[in-house]
Protein backbone atom coordinates (compact mmCIF):
# COMPACT_ATOMS: atom_id res chain seq x y z
CA UNK A 1 0.00 0.00 0.00
CA UNK A 2 1.37 3.38 -0.92
CA UNK A 3 1.49 5.54 2.16
CA UNK A 4 2.70 8.71 0.58
CA UNK A 5 5.63 10.43 -1.00
CA UNK A 6 8.25 12.29 0.95
CA UNK A 7 7.44 15.98 1.18
CA UNK A 8 9.43 19.05 2.06
CA UNK A 9 12.86 17.49 2.03
CA UNK A 10 15.24 19.96 3.62
CA UNK A 11 18.96 19.89 4.13
CA UNK A 12 21.24 21.95 6.34
CA UNK A 13 24.65 21.73 7.94
CA UNK A 14 25.54 22.08 11.56
CA UNK A 15 28.40 21.29 13.91
CA UNK A 16 27.96 18.41 16.33
CA UNK A 17 30.68 17.44 18.79
CA UNK A 18 33.16 19.48 16.77
CA UNK A 19 32.32 17.79 13.46
CA UNK A 20 30.36 19.32 10.61
CA UNK A 21 27.37 17.16 9.66
CA UNK A 22 24.52 17.31 7.20
CA UNK A 23 20.99 17.10 8.61
CA UNK A 24 18.28 16.00 6.17
CA UNK A 25 14.62 15.90 7.14
CA UNK A 26 11.33 15.22 5.37
CA UNK A 27 7.71 14.30 5.97
CA UNK A 28 6.26 10.92 5.04
CA UNK A 29 2.58 10.50 5.78
CA UNK A 30 1.89 12.18 9.09
CA UNK A 31 5.38 11.61 10.48
CA UNK A 32 8.72 13.30 9.98
CA UNK A 33 11.97 11.50 9.36
CA UNK A 34 15.55 12.72 9.59
CA UNK A 35 19.03 11.45 8.98
CA UNK A 36 22.45 12.89 9.76
CA UNK A 37 25.58 12.10 7.79
CA UNK A 38 29.22 12.98 8.29
CA UNK A 39 29.51 14.76 4.90
CA UNK A 40 32.92 13.31 4.02
CA UNK A 41 32.62 10.50 3.20
CA UNK A 42 28.86 10.69 3.75
CA UNK A 43 28.08 7.86 6.17
CA UNK A 44 24.66 8.09 7.78
CA UNK A 45 25.47 8.23 11.50
CA UNK A 46 22.07 9.08 12.97
CA UNK A 47 18.41 8.61 12.17
CA UNK A 48 15.30 9.86 13.91
CA UNK A 49 11.54 10.05 13.56
CA UNK A 50 8.99 12.26 15.20
CA UNK A 51 5.66 14.01 15.05
CA UNK A 52 7.38 17.24 14.03
CA UNK A 53 10.43 18.08 11.93
CA UNK A 54 12.21 19.38 15.00
CA UNK A 55 11.53 16.20 16.95
CA UNK A 56 12.83 14.00 14.13
CA UNK A 57 15.94 16.13 13.63
CA UNK A 58 16.65 16.23 17.35
CA UNK A 59 16.47 12.44 17.54
CA UNK A 60 18.79 12.02 14.56
CA UNK A 61 21.27 14.60 15.86
CA UNK A 62 21.22 12.97 19.30
CA UNK A 63 22.05 9.60 17.74
CA UNK A 64 24.83 11.16 15.69
CA UNK A 65 26.23 13.07 18.65
CA UNK A 66 26.69 9.84 20.60
CA UNK A 67 28.78 8.38 17.80
CA UNK A 68 30.68 11.60 17.17
CA UNK A 69 31.32 11.92 20.90
CA UNK A 70 33.16 8.61 20.78
CA UNK A 71 35.22 9.87 17.85
CA UNK A 72 36.11 13.06 19.75
CA UNK A 73 37.01 11.10 22.88
CA UNK A 74 39.21 8.81 20.83
CA UNK A 75 40.97 11.77 19.23
CA UNK A 76 41.61 13.29 22.67
CA UNK A 77 42.95 9.99 23.95
CA UNK A 78 45.29 9.64 21.00
CA UNK A 79 46.49 13.20 21.51
CA UNK A 80 47.19 12.48 25.18
CA UNK A 81 49.03 9.27 24.38
CA UNK A 82 51.08 11.15 21.81
CA UNK A 83 52.07 13.75 24.37
CA UNK A 84 52.91 11.07 26.93
CA UNK A 85 55.07 9.28 24.41
CA UNK A 86 56.94 12.52 23.78
CA UNK A 87 57.29 13.12 27.51
CA UNK A 88 55.22 16.29 27.58
CA UNK A 89 51.96 17.23 29.27
CA UNK A 90 48.89 17.72 27.06
CA UNK A 91 47.41 21.18 27.03
Amino acid sequence: MTVDAAQGLQERRKTVEGHEVRVVSYKIGDRFGSRVDNIDPGDVIGRGRGATREEAEDAAVEAASLRLGLTSAREMLQKSVGHLNRGSTPR
Binding site: M1, T2, V3, D4, A5, A6, Q7, L9, H19, V21, V24, Y26, I28, G29, G33, R35, D37, N38, D40, P41, G42, D43, V44, I45, G46, R47, R49, A64, R67, L68, L70, T71, R74
Partner: protein
Protein backbone atom coordinates in the same frame (compact mmCIF):
# COMPACT_ATOMS: atom_id res chain seq x y z
CA UNK B 1 28.29 9.19 -24.83
CA UNK B 2 26.28 6.60 -22.91
CA UNK B 3 27.70 4.37 -20.22
CA UNK B 4 29.47 1.18 -21.30
CA UNK B 5 26.86 -1.09 -19.75
CA UNK B 6 23.57 0.70 -20.17
CA UNK B 7 21.60 -2.19 -18.66
CA UNK B 8 23.23 -1.88 -15.24
CA UNK B 9 21.73 1.48 -14.30
CA UNK B 10 18.09 2.60 -14.20
CA UNK B 11 16.65 6.03 -13.69
CA UNK B 12 13.83 6.82 -11.28
CA UNK B 13 11.10 7.26 -13.95
CA UNK B 14 11.88 3.77 -15.30
CA UNK B 15 11.74 2.38 -11.78
CA UNK B 16 8.43 4.06 -11.03
CA UNK B 17 6.96 2.66 -14.24
CA UNK B 18 8.03 -0.88 -13.23
CA UNK B 19 6.95 -0.87 -9.57
CA UNK B 20 4.23 -3.43 -10.34
CA UNK B 21 6.20 -5.44 -12.87
CA UNK B 22 6.34 -9.04 -11.56
CA UNK B 23 9.63 -9.63 -13.39
CA UNK B 24 11.32 -6.81 -11.49
CA UNK B 25 12.26 -7.03 -7.82
CA UNK B 26 13.29 -3.86 -6.04
CA UNK B 27 15.61 -4.31 -3.07
CA UNK B 28 16.59 -1.59 -0.62
CA UNK B 29 20.04 -2.37 0.75
CA UNK B 30 21.63 -0.60 3.66
CA UNK B 31 23.92 -1.21 6.60
CA UNK B 32 20.72 -2.02 8.52
CA UNK B 33 17.02 -1.83 7.70
CA UNK B 34 16.01 1.18 9.79
CA UNK B 35 15.50 3.39 6.73
CA UNK B 36 13.60 0.60 4.96
CA UNK B 37 11.26 0.24 7.92
CA UNK B 38 10.43 3.94 7.71
CA UNK B 39 9.36 3.73 4.07
CA UNK B 40 10.57 2.21 0.83
CA UNK B 41 9.63 1.83 -2.81
CA UNK B 42 6.26 0.07 -2.99
CA UNK B 43 6.89 -3.65 -3.35
CA UNK B 44 10.55 -3.42 -2.39
CA UNK B 45 12.11 -5.84 0.03
CA UNK B 46 14.90 -4.85 2.42
CA UNK B 47 18.32 -6.43 2.83
CA UNK B 48 20.42 -5.80 5.90
CA UNK B 49 24.08 -5.58 4.85
CA UNK B 50 25.50 -6.45 8.24
CA UNK B 51 23.28 -9.50 8.74
CA UNK B 52 22.39 -10.74 5.27
CA UNK B 53 25.19 -9.76 2.91
CA UNK B 54 28.30 -10.63 4.91
CA UNK B 55 29.49 -13.76 6.63
CA UNK B 56 30.36 -12.26 9.98
CA UNK B 57 31.86 -15.47 11.36
CA UNK B 58 34.48 -15.83 8.64
CA UNK B 59 34.62 -12.14 7.63
CA UNK B 60 33.82 -13.02 4.09
CA UNK B 61 31.30 -12.44 1.37
CA UNK B 62 28.33 -14.78 1.35
CA UNK B 63 28.89 -18.38 0.46
CA UNK B 64 27.10 -19.63 -2.63
CA UNK B 65 24.61 -21.45 -0.39
CA UNK B 66 23.89 -18.38 1.74
CA UNK B 67 23.35 -16.21 -1.32
CA UNK B 68 21.00 -18.81 -2.79
CA UNK B 69 19.03 -18.87 0.47
CA UNK B 70 18.76 -15.07 0.48
CA UNK B 71 17.56 -14.92 -3.13
CA UNK B 72 15.14 -17.83 -2.66
CA UNK B 73 13.40 -16.24 0.32
CA UNK B 74 13.36 -12.90 -1.54
CA UNK B 75 11.35 -14.46 -4.36
CA UNK B 76 14.12 -13.86 -6.86
CA UNK B 77 14.64 -16.27 -9.75
CA UNK B 78 17.50 -16.47 -12.23
CA UNK B 79 15.54 -14.40 -14.75
CA UNK B 80 14.34 -11.74 -12.30
CA UNK B 81 15.47 -8.20 -12.96
CA UNK B 82 16.89 -7.11 -9.59
CA UNK B 83 17.02 -3.36 -9.01
CA UNK B 84 19.11 -2.35 -6.01
CA UNK B 85 19.08 0.98 -4.24
CA UNK B 86 19.73 2.39 -0.80
CA UNK B 87 20.86 5.19 1.40
CA UNK B 88 24.50 6.15 1.81
CA UNK B 89 24.49 6.96 -1.92
CA UNK B 90 23.99 3.33 -2.91
CA UNK B 91 27.22 2.07 -1.30
CA UNK B 92 25.60 -1.02 0.14
CA UNK B 93 23.45 -1.49 -2.94
CA UNK B 94 26.67 -1.58 -4.93
CA UNK B 95 28.04 -4.17 -2.53
CA UNK B 96 24.98 -6.35 -3.20
CA UNK B 97 25.34 -5.72 -6.95
CA UNK B 98 28.97 -6.87 -6.78
CA UNK B 99 28.06 -10.07 -4.95
CA UNK B 100 25.19 -10.87 -7.31
CA UNK B 101 27.57 -10.46 -10.24
CA UNK B 102 30.15 -12.66 -8.52
CA UNK B 103 27.54 -15.42 -8.32
CA UNK B 104 26.42 -14.93 -11.90
CA UNK B 105 23.08 -13.12 -11.66
CA UNK B 106 22.71 -11.58 -15.10
CA UNK B 107 20.05 -8.90 -14.76
CA UNK B 108 20.98 -6.71 -11.83
CA UNK B 109 20.78 -2.93 -11.87
CA UNK B 110 21.39 0.10 -9.67
CA UNK B 111 18.78 2.83 -9.21
CA UNK B 112 20.60 6.05 -10.07
CA UNK B 113 20.56 8.46 -7.12
CA UNK B 114 19.38 5.83 -4.66
CA UNK B 115 16.96 6.40 -1.83
CA UNK B 116 17.79 10.05 -1.28
CA UNK B 117 16.91 11.14 -4.81
CA UNK B 118 13.72 9.06 -4.73
CA UNK B 119 12.64 10.90 -1.58
CA UNK B 120 13.75 14.27 -2.91
CA UNK B 121 11.77 13.74 -6.11
CA UNK B 122 8.61 12.98 -4.13
CA UNK B 123 8.09 9.56 -5.68
CA UNK B 124 5.76 6.95 -4.12
CA UNK B 125 6.68 5.18 -0.92
CA UNK B 126 5.17 2.44 1.19
CA UNK B 127 5.62 1.05 4.67
CA UNK B 128 4.19 -2.34 3.78
CA UNK B 129 6.62 -5.23 3.87
CA UNK B 130 5.73 -7.48 0.95
CA UNK B 131 6.17 -11.23 0.82
CA UNK B 132 6.94 -13.18 -2.32
CA UNK B 133 6.71 -16.86 -3.09
CA UNK B 134 10.08 -18.53 -2.51
CA UNK B 135 12.06 -19.67 -5.52
CA UNK B 136 14.53 -22.49 -6.12
CA UNK B 137 17.37 -20.15 -7.12
CA UNK B 138 20.65 -21.81 -7.99
CA UNK B 139 23.66 -19.54 -8.20
CA UNK B 140 26.67 -19.97 -10.46
CA UNK B 141 30.12 -20.76 -9.17
CA UNK B 142 31.78 -17.54 -7.98
CA UNK B 143 33.56 -15.39 -10.54
CA UNK B 144 36.77 -14.76 -8.65
CA UNK B 145 38.00 -12.24 -11.22
CA UNK B 146 35.79 -9.59 -9.65
CA UNK B 147 37.25 -9.83 -6.16
CA UNK B 148 40.63 -8.56 -5.02
CA UNK B 149 42.38 -10.57 -2.34
CA UNK B 150 45.40 -9.76 -0.23
CA UNK B 151 47.68 -11.60 -2.65
CA UNK B 152 46.47 -9.41 -5.53
CA UNK B 153 47.22 -6.28 -3.59
CA UNK B 154 50.61 -7.50 -2.37
CA UNK B 155 51.52 -8.23 -5.97
CA UNK B 156 50.27 -4.81 -6.98
CA UNK B 157 52.50 -3.14 -4.43
CA UNK B 158 55.56 -5.09 -5.54
CA UNK B 159 55.13 -5.00 -9.30
CA UNK B 160 53.28 -1.70 -9.73
CA UNK B 161 51.48 -3.02 -12.81
CA UNK B 162 48.07 -2.80 -11.20
CA UNK B 163 46.37 0.52 -10.56
CA UNK B 164 45.27 0.74 -6.93
CA UNK B 165 42.43 3.14 -6.24
CA UNK B 166 41.85 4.35 -2.69
CA UNK B 167 38.29 5.70 -2.55
CA UNK B 168 38.33 6.84 1.09
CA UNK B 169 38.29 10.46 2.20
CA UNK B 170 41.49 12.54 1.96
CA UNK B 171 41.91 12.40 5.75
CA UNK B 172 41.84 8.62 5.76
CA UNK B 173 44.20 8.47 2.77
CA UNK B 174 46.75 10.73 4.45
CA UNK B 175 46.50 8.87 7.75
CA UNK B 176 45.30 11.93 9.66
CA UNK B 177 42.27 9.92 10.75
CA UNK B 178 41.77 6.18 11.10
CA UNK B 179 38.04 6.20 10.39
CA UNK B 180 35.41 8.68 9.22
CA UNK B 181 33.80 10.72 12.02
CA UNK B 182 31.27 8.68 13.96
CA UNK B 183 32.51 5.30 12.78
CA UNK B 184 34.66 2.76 14.64
CA UNK B 185 38.36 2.56 13.94
CA UNK B 186 39.16 -0.80 12.42
CA UNK B 187 42.91 -0.54 11.93
CA UNK B 188 46.14 0.05 13.80
CA UNK B 189 47.72 2.44 11.32
CA UNK B 190 46.61 5.39 9.27
CA UNK B 191 47.71 5.92 5.69
CA UNK B 192 47.29 4.14 2.39
CA UNK B 193 48.59 1.21 0.39
CA UNK B 194 51.84 2.17 -1.39
CA UNK B 195 51.26 3.40 -4.90
CA UNK B 196 47.52 3.91 -4.51
CA UNK B 197 45.82 6.83 -6.22
CA UNK B 198 43.34 8.82 -4.14
CA UNK B 199 39.97 9.10 -5.87
CA UNK B 200 37.34 9.57 -3.14
CA UNK B 201 34.11 7.81 -4.06
CA UNK B 202 32.06 11.01 -3.99
CA UNK B 203 33.96 12.47 -6.94
CA UNK B 204 31.95 10.20 -9.24
CA UNK B 205 28.61 11.69 -8.22
CA UNK B 206 26.72 14.90 -8.82
CA UNK B 207 25.26 16.75 -5.83
CA UNK B 208 21.97 14.83 -6.19
CA UNK B 209 23.80 11.51 -5.88
CA UNK B 210 23.42 10.47 -9.52
CA UNK B 211 26.49 9.50 -11.48
CA UNK B 212 28.47 12.01 -13.50
CA UNK B 213 28.66 11.58 -17.25
CA UNK B 214 30.91 8.96 -18.79
CA UNK B 215 33.17 11.69 -20.16
CA UNK B 216 33.58 13.25 -16.73
CA UNK B 217 34.27 9.88 -15.13
CA UNK B 218 36.83 8.90 -17.75
CA UNK B 219 38.62 12.22 -17.31
CA UNK B 220 38.57 11.82 -13.53
CA UNK B 221 40.24 8.42 -13.54
CA UNK B 222 42.57 9.09 -16.45
CA UNK B 223 43.83 12.13 -14.56
CA UNK B 224 44.85 9.80 -11.74
CA UNK B 225 46.53 7.23 -13.98
CA UNK B 226 43.67 4.76 -13.64
CA UNK B 227 43.19 3.66 -17.22
CA UNK B 228 41.48 0.75 -18.91
CA UNK B 229 44.71 -0.79 -20.18
CA UNK B 230 45.78 -1.74 -16.64
CA UNK B 231 44.15 -4.06 -14.12
CA UNK B 232 42.50 -2.02 -11.36
CA UNK B 233 41.90 -2.83 -7.69
CA UNK B 234 39.66 -0.52 -5.67
CA UNK B 235 39.62 -0.42 -1.89
CA UNK B 236 38.27 1.63 1.00
CA UNK B 237 37.87 0.81 4.70
CA UNK B 238 35.56 -2.22 4.62
CA UNK B 239 34.82 -2.64 0.92
CA UNK B 240 31.43 -1.03 0.52
CA UNK B 241 32.51 2.39 -0.82
CA UNK B 242 34.94 0.61 -3.13
CA UNK B 243 32.19 -1.63 -4.51
CA UNK B 244 30.54 1.65 -5.61
CA UNK B 245 33.74 2.64 -7.42
CA UNK B 246 34.08 -0.92 -8.78
CA UNK B 247 30.59 -0.50 -10.29
CA UNK B 248 31.61 2.77 -11.94
CA UNK B 249 34.84 1.42 -13.41
CA UNK B 250 33.50 -1.98 -14.46
CA UNK B 251 29.98 -1.16 -15.60
CA UNK B 252 29.74 2.54 -16.36
CA UNK B 253 33.17 2.83 -17.95
CA UNK B 254 33.61 -0.78 -19.09
CA UNK B 255 37.14 -1.30 -17.79
CA UNK B 256 37.90 -4.96 -18.52
CA UNK B 257 39.75 -5.94 -15.35
CA UNK B 258 38.50 -4.37 -12.12
CA UNK B 259 38.47 -5.96 -8.69
CA UNK B 260 36.98 -4.85 -5.42
CA UNK B 261 39.37 -5.51 -2.53
CA UNK B 262 36.83 -5.98 0.25
CA UNK B 263 39.51 -6.71 2.85
CA UNK B 264 40.41 -3.07 2.24
CA UNK B 265 42.19 -0.88 4.77
CA UNK B 266 40.77 -2.90 7.67
CA UNK B 267 42.92 -5.78 6.47
CA UNK B 268 45.94 -3.96 5.03
CA UNK B 269 46.20 -1.43 7.85
CA UNK B 270 46.53 -4.21 10.40
CA UNK B 271 49.04 -6.41 8.61
CA UNK B 272 52.39 -7.12 10.18
CA UNK B 273 55.31 -6.64 7.83
CA UNK B 274 53.44 -4.82 5.07
CA UNK B 275 54.41 -1.28 4.12
CA UNK B 276 52.13 1.73 4.03
CA UNK B 277 52.51 5.28 2.80
CA UNK B 278 51.33 8.49 4.39
Amino acid sequence: MTYADTDSLVEAPWAEAHLNDPKVRFVEVDVDTSAYQEAHLPGAIGWDWSKELCDQLTRDILSRESLEALLRRSGIARDTCVVLYGDNNNWFAAWAFWQLRIYGHEDVRILNGGRNKWLADGRPLSDEVPTYAPTTYEASAPDTTLRGLLTDVSDAVKKRVIALVDVRSPGEFSGDILAPPGLPETCQRGGHIPGAASVPWGQVCKPDGTFKSREELEALYAGKGVTRDRPVVAYCRIGERSSHTWFVLKHLLGYPDVKNYDGSWTEWGNLVGQPIER
